[in-house]
Every structure is written in C-alpha cells, then in structure tokens.
Symmetry: C2
Subunit: 411 residues, 2 copies
C-alpha cells in the first residue's frame, strides 16, 4: 500500500493516509452535509470528488452513494465497494497526477463541522470486559462479588436508544429522574447525582441480514464496515433504581456520544490481536477462528487530565462473537446498526473505563491536575475519549475523539 | 360527526366510518406501497386522492405527505394536520358529491396487501399491567411473590429491537439460543422450547421532541398519533437465562408483530376511561390529569380458539404516564417511535395476555377447540390478536388483527 500522500500529514496525526476514516461534515460555504475523509489536518470532500466523476465505477450509483448526507448508502454497498472506495481514495491522495483535481476539494479539518456520520438503526450495548464486570460486582456486592452466572457463556447485551446517539461535541444535559439512595424509604426525584461515563468501542454495521437468519462470527468482515469510539453516558443513581427486572432504561437513554470518524476495518488489519483464552469453552455458534480483537488503546480525559487508559485488547468477547450472538435468534441486521463493546476496563486501576470504577463507587475520589477532586461528573465537566491502534508501516491509526460537556439540568 | 358513509359498511365491521385507521398497502395493479384508509370491507387509496388534489390545503406538502410509502411524513405533521386530514376523509367518504371522484380509488381490503405502516424509530416496551407483573412474580417466585420494589413508583420499561418489528402476517421463525433449564449444570443450545406471545397495545409517536427536553403527560395528544395492536413474541427459556443483569435481549429481539392499521386517537375519544387509582401517589412528573386510558378489549386466538380476552382498561399506568417517564431524562422522541404497554392481563384467568400465564408456567396445559392441549407454542401454530373499543354513536372501533404463524427453526 502506498504510504505517503501528497497532502502533508503531521507525524503525530491520528489520520495518516493509512487510516482514511469516513465522516459527514458541513463546510463554511454553506453547502449541506457531505461525505468526507480525514487526512492529517485536512478533510477531503468526497461528495465533490464524486460529482466530478472520480468515483465512477467504484459503486453502482456513485452520486447517490458518495453524495448522500449520511454514510448509510455507502455502508449498505458491502465489502467489495468498501475496498474499491478505499483503493480509489488511496490512489487519489498518493498519486500526484490527481493533485490538481483533488486539491480544490480539501479544507482544514478545523473549518469543517462534523455531524453524526450515519443514521443509527438499532443500538446494542454489550458488557464484555471481564475486569469491568468484576469491578461492578465488587463495588455493588462486596460481600459476594462474582460475575453473573451467564457471563462467560454469552456476551450479555441490551438494546439502547438509537434516537439519542449523538456526535462528539453535543452538549450533554444532566438527566433527571427517580432514584432511591441506599437506606432511603422512598425514591426521590431530581437531577442525577451520579453521572458517569463509559468508555467503549462501537462497531458500525453496513450490510443487512434477513429476518430469521443467523450471521456467523466468520462473516464479521462482510457485515461490519468500521469502528467508532463511544461514550455511553450513564446516570448510576437512576439506573440502580430502575434496572430490576428489565435492565437499564432512563439511566442510559438520555445520550450516547460517538466519535465523528468511522475508521474502516481495512485500516485496522495491523491492529488485530488474538482472542483471549475463553474458559469454559464457548458454544459452537460463538467460535471465532478469525477474530477482530483489536490492540486499541483508549485514553479518557476529564477536564484535560488523563484519568484512564483502557486497553480494548483485554475484552473477553470479540466483536465477531458479539455479532454472532446478536443474530443467533434470527434477529435481522440493518444498515446503520451500531453495537458497542460495553465499558472497557483493563486490569489496572488506571485502566478503568468508568468513573464508578475509578472512584470505586465514589468511595475514593481521584485528583485532577487542577487539584480538584472528582468522583462523578459535575456540571461543566468535559470528558474526552481518544483512541489509537497500530497501523501499517509503523503508523498509528487514530480514532479522533468523542467529547462531551455536561450542561446543568433545568430541574 | 357524520355517521354514515356512501360506502356500505357491514354492521360488524371493525372499520366503520368513525374509525378510519391508516395503513400502507400494495395493490394488485403493481404500483408501489401507498397510504390507505380502511373502511368496511374496502380501503381508500389516499395517495390517489392526494394525486388528484383532494388533500390540497390539508398538509403543507400534500403530495409528499400522502404519497409517501410510509406514514412517517403524516405522523410528523402534528395534531392540526392529523385532524384536518381526518375531517377531509370524513367529508370525502360521507358526502355523496365526492363519490364520483373517490369511488375509483376504492378496492377491496382483501385485495390489498398490508405492509408495516410506519418506519419504526425506537421501540420501547413497558410492563404496566399489575396483574401480569403479579402473575409473573407468582410463577417464578412462588415462595415470595411480590412486585419489584420500583413497580408502583415508575412504569418499568426497556428498549426492544425496532429493526425486527414486523407487520401482521409475517411468519415467525422459532428462535434458537442458549437456555439453561432449572436444575441443569450447563446451558444448552437449540430452538426455544418455551415460545410465547405477549398481547399488548402500542402507541405510535408522530411529533418529535428535542434532546434534553421533557414531554409532560398532558402533551400525549400532541405527540401520539394513534394506536396499534402488538404481539411481543417472547422466548421464555432464552430470556430466563440471559436477562440478569441487563434485561431481555435475544428472548425478545427476534420479532415483534404489529397490526397493519393505525387507529387515530381521534377515533378513540369515546373509549377513554379514568386512570385506575394509584397508590402510593405518583411523583409530580407522572401525574396525568387527562389520561388516555382506553376501554379496549383484546381477544387472543390460538389456532382459532379464543384463549384470552385481556382488558386494556385494567392497566396500572396510562400511556401519557409512560410517555412522560420515557422522556423525563431528556431522551428525544422521533417520528415513528413505538412504545407498547407490556403484556395486558386482566384479573381473571381467561384474561391473561401470555401463554406463560394461561398455562401457569406450563404447569396447567389448556385446551383448544380441536381437543389439543397447549402450554407454549408449537411449530405451525397461528396466533391472532384482535381488539375493539367503543366508538361514537354506538359504533365499535376495531383494531383489526395482528397475526403470526410459527415456522420451524433451521437448527
């Protein structure tokens, strides 16, 4: 693969030419939302390139595919078109002979406004970090900490609210709701007092599957287009009171933030790592002989202070296993389905992916560089999650960031 | 309101002119999916009426609204347009002077094929029948049957899979998955052996709400367009093994069937009944001074035998309270959101809305008219849920039916 673009890329950029993540941006000229690819400090206006015929032959309907205001039409095209699109982009961005045509479509990333890159169909959140699940058990049930009985037999998951998946930068209003503090007789109402984050990795489904069919783990690459970072904001007090017996609902559904750039699987071949050993052995439908476990290092900042570096490679369940489980009952996939890993927590205290764990249930406040203490989030706090994975030729594949700032409740 | 249409309507029809439910159909001439309204044994091709200008002035963009292949554009218009649309339809169908223009757009309902009437945004399922919740507690925890502690403080709910909401008549493939029978050491894999129904009532959201805002119960009529019947198919064995701690997932996500005709709220004024008494008193945000509780009688048939008649009027939580709860954390509503009541079970044994309850956890098989016994569903079984509510002038508002036949698993 060509490794140098005629576009200068800063050495520490999350977006070398080996990455080429896809997004949807608006640009200052007032034209509508358009498909773009990030490279270095720039974005390439893919819609404009398509309009001058540079994607002819890449997709069956290039103008509809690359001129759409969301990634969904491209997502629905499937692996062959995804690869052809990436090959064409690499050609355009590395071959000097295209420079005269492509350069006018470039603009500084700082001048583009990123939108939610795809229309989310169904959103599923898993619970696939053993360390996280263990931490939660210890925090909430210190007398008998143990994983749920089913935890090592299947990747536990639930459906979230796809209509409240928002792009990085969207302000997060502190949710109100019912909660019942320990020892209280009655529930009370008010803004959440235990507002938390969950640092996660999300997988974006492109190719649908019919109702009544199963998608094996081995078909992961045929259905999944790429990867985003996810912050699954969580109101722990609301969640704790509501979640028995039907699971999280309002404690999660107020907002889920995603990073604006969808990193294609094709950029992540070098980041693949083996599946951790799984005992007891998994059922046949969960076997994943070619897993897409990723050496993806997350970094969580709170008001600028790095508070955690969760390692995604420590997840117990692979994304292919999650996909196989999600569809084993015949549930259909749709273009734009998003499924997330669940909170990523590594074995060390500075690798936990939630404030619940970092403050050990609010019993151990942690320090920011400003000298301030935190357990859960205060109004005005800004959380920023970034991620990096090894790329080809010694490059690093960045995932950009998923940011959010807490806005006070109206209540 | 005019009570007689120039279209003959059989006396026992679910679709008198006081009903006028909306659907999407295909018709034998091969034209694409189109908006239709059911009346008697006929459907009126609303798209065709719109194309000849008969809905001009009713919506801002009549052709886009009434010519769409889903109800969503109409749903998004809001209450004023919904009322104007209904008024126009009543005029067209009761005033003989329109007969010459309208008659050519009629066709027999039996010749139309109903499609899923709206694109489902998010699907939420509640758990709002006290009798059902009590039954479930007694069946699973006979030694200490009690409602969950939160049950009378908030309408418990969870998000389902909107991508597997299907229209009545869609075959339901028996789902496979993991289950762990009581007393077994290890989970096993295979087709569900406890496939069940849940007879429910669904509410279709038309008008969206912005992220970060709350929708009060009093705004129910401004946001909710109409009502459908729902069969929330459930694999009890899969659900029982998976649902701790994050709630139902694969035990539900394989399919949820809805009736093809969305009955508008305007047709249900006469069916409104008071909110049951609620003790302890509900929090301020759950007060509903103008509730849309409905005297809606469901009927569940299994292979033709009526096995239950669940009365929706016995629900503990009102649809307005459910809407207020759903959004109290600032979760946005979208056009096409669907939320369902949860299983409707009345106080008597022949009013239970699931086979789990009708067979009391498979301990008491019940008889069909054929002499066959049932507990859970067998392959080839057909379930049909219908519903009726009182209409104006002594008419009855029918909801049509939500049907489904079980197809054997491939596993």
């Amino acid at each position: 693969m060509p490794t140098r673009s005629w576009i200068p890329v800063p050495a520490d950029s999350p977006f070398p030419v080996s990455n080429l993540p896809y997004g949807i941006v608006t640009i200052p000229d007032g034209r509508g939302p358009r498909m773009a690819v990030a490279i270095g400090d720039h974005v390439v206006d893919v819609a404009a390139l398509s309009a001058i015929g540079l994607f002819d032959g890449v997709a069956d309907e290039p103008l509809e595919t690359f001129g759409a205001p969301v990634l969904n039409p491209l997502l629905s095209c499937g692996r062959a078109t995804w690869t052809a699109t990436r090959d064409r982009l690499l050609q355009l961005l590395t071959d000097e002979s295209y420079r005269a045509k492509v350069e006018p479509t470039l603009l500084l990333r700082s001048e583009a406004t990123s939108l939610l890159p795809f229309e989310v169909a169904d959103y599923v959140d898993f619970y696939s970090s053993e360390q996280h699940a263990n931490n939660v058990s210890q925090i909430f049930r210190p007398e008998s900490p143990q994983l749920p009985e089913n935890w090592k037999h299947l990747p536990i998951g639930y459906h979230g609210r796809s209509g409240t998946v928002v792009v990085s930068g969207t302000p997060i209003r502190r949710p109100s709701g019912q909660r019942k503090p320990r020892g209280a007789d009655q529930p009370t109402f008010g803004p959440s007092e235990r507002l938390d984050i969950e640092a996660e990795v999300g997988f974006v489904v492109g190719v649908p599957s019919p109702l009544g069919s199963q998608v094996p783990a081995a078909s992961f690459r045929d259905h999944v287009f790429g990867v985003v970072l996810v912050n699954d904001w969580s109101a722990r007090d609301i969640q704790a009171w509501e979640y028995v017996p039907l699971g999280p609902f309002l404690g999660k559904s107020f907002a889920t933030s995603v990073s604006p750039w969808v990193v294609p699987l094709d950029a992540l071949e070098m980041a693949r790592v083996p599946l951790p050993s799984q005992a007891p052995p998994v059922m046949a439908y969960l076997k994943d002989s070619d897993p897409w476990c990723l050496d993806l290092s997350l970094e969580v900042r709170l008001n600028g202070t790095v508070v955690s570096r969760p390692p995604f490679a420590t997840q117990y369940w692979s994304p292919g296993q999650q996909l196989a489980h999600l569809t084993v009952n015949g549930a259909a996939l749709r273009t734009g389905d998003l499924y997330a890993s669940g909170t990523v927590s590594g074995p060390h205290q500075d690798q936990f992916g939630s404030l619940l764990e970092l403050s050990w249930g609010a019993s151990k406040p942690f320090l920011l560089e400003t000298g301030q203490e935190r357990t859960f989030l205060l109004d005005g706090d800004t959380v920023s999650i970034s991620g990096w994975a090894p790329g080809s030729d010694g490059t690093r594949i960045g995932f950009g960031r998923v940011d959010g700032t807490i806005v006070a409740s109206d209540d």
